[in-house]
Amino acid sequence: MASTIHCDIVSAEAEIFSGDAAMVVVPGEEGELGIAPRHAPLLTRLVPGQVRVILPEGEEKFYYISGGLLEIQPHVVTVLSDTAQRAGDLDEAAALKAKEEAERAIKDRTAGMEVAQAQAQLAEAMAQLAALERFRKQLKR
């Protein structure tokens, strides 16, 4: 039997591929990596690109990943794929958005207060109107 390496491609949201492969080619941060069985243990970051899995029967499978992390052990290769494009500024933008959302949530408090206040005033006005109405009816009699 030809030697194979077990390959797992997983993301936080789903398992993408799991099975034996003759070779796996991934876009490493420091260049493209071809991983054959009995590769030395290695950890690296991945950049967005294509993962090519060559199955033992010679068939090839392609997966697109938007970056991630890679772990290699002599008989197992694990691609921990990101579900989204990651970059310093992108993450920063996301963080800013979350902060803005928080500010809005706090600001809504004043909006909520205004609504409550308006409602109280409305209730008061309605009570006054009702009292007036009653008064008028009494006068007619």
Partner: protein, 287 residues
């Protein structure tokens, strides 16, 4: 027969309510399954992560990563609070909030300040009324939460932690035990509690590209994001389960109410008939 018409109206309105609650019950029942599938799908990733982190932590022993190092003095704790976007799910959110308030009080007695991060509309609504700090918020995760939507919120917490504005970080969500039981759970995210791993027997090490420190940082960041993401899924499953049970109770109550109202209606009808007959008999006797 003056009262009977009103009673009929009331019965109709309760019947309409029952229609809505039983529909919601069925919708939630089917959504639980989907949420559970999502939970299942995210497990391999975190399992792999944990393995690699365990190894990395031992490889970079000389210098402990800030995320795993315990701090001596705790001045400010952060809470990531998962709640639902929508209501009608029984006491799910309120039970957790009540438990959280007790927790807050304990910290405040020790003069520790509290920062919250709210995920889900109900959490935002509740905690803005309280006088606690909200440093980040996310809403509308929907039926299929995506990790992407949580990255920003988690980053705010991690940055705060790195820069010393937070000394500890907790994750609060409803743990999905089964459809009948959900448990408000507080997990410590930072500093990351050490995994119970066996001592390494083999003396091999990875080749690192670039250096192990940066990689460990990447791994830990993603790991924490994954934990938060999984908590959001678990909370989603809990939400649907709680809603299903709440709606089932509401439907049962509506049934009881309808039965009682029918009884009242029949009695009123009977009384009206009896009265009419006795009037006719009385009239005939007078002639």
């Amino acid at each position: 027969m003056s009262g009977s018409k009103e009673i009929v109206g009331k019965i109709k309105s309760v019947q309409n309510t029952r229609k809505v609650t039983s529909a919601l019950e069925m919708v939630s029942a089917s959504k639980i399954r989907k949420a559970q599938d999502l939970m299942e799908a995210s497990r391999p990733y975190s399992r792999m992560m944990r393995q690699v982190i365990g190894h990395l932590a031992q490889a970079t022993l000389e210098e402990e990563h800030p995320f795993t190092a315990e701090r001596e003095e705790v001045k400010r704790v952060g809470f990531i609070i998962m709640a639902t976007d929508r209501g009608l799910c029984g006491g799910l959110n309120n039970n957790m909030f009540r438990k959280l308030l007790a927790e807050f009080r304990q910290w405040q007695e020790k003069d520790v300040e509290i920062t919250t991060v709210v995920i889900g509309r109900k959490a935002a609504q509740f905690f803005r009324r309280l006088k606690v700090d909200i440093s980040a918020a996310t809403q509308d995760l929907g039926e299929q939460p995506r990790l992407e939507d949580l990255i920003g919120t988690v980053k705010v917490c991690l940055d705060d932690y790195r820069e010393g504005r937070l000394d500890r970080l907790y994750l609060c969500y409803n743990h999905f035990v089964n459809t009948m039981t959900q448990q408000a759970t507080f997990d410590q995210l930072l500093p990351l509690p050490p995994a119970d791993e066996k001592p390494m027997l083999q003396y091999w090490d990875y080749i690192y590209e670039p250096n192990p420190k940066e990689l460990l940082d990447d791994f830990l960041t993603r790991y924490i994001e994954t934990l938060v993401y999984q908590a959001s899924l678990e909370n989603l499953a809990s939400e649907h389960a709680a809603r299903m049970v709440a709606m089932k109770n509401a439907s049962d109550n509506a049934n009881n109410l309808i039965d009682e109202l029918k009884l009242v209606y029949n009695k009123a009808r009977q009384a009206a008939i009896t009265q009419e007959i006795s009037e006719i008999v009385g009239g005939a006797a007078a002639v």
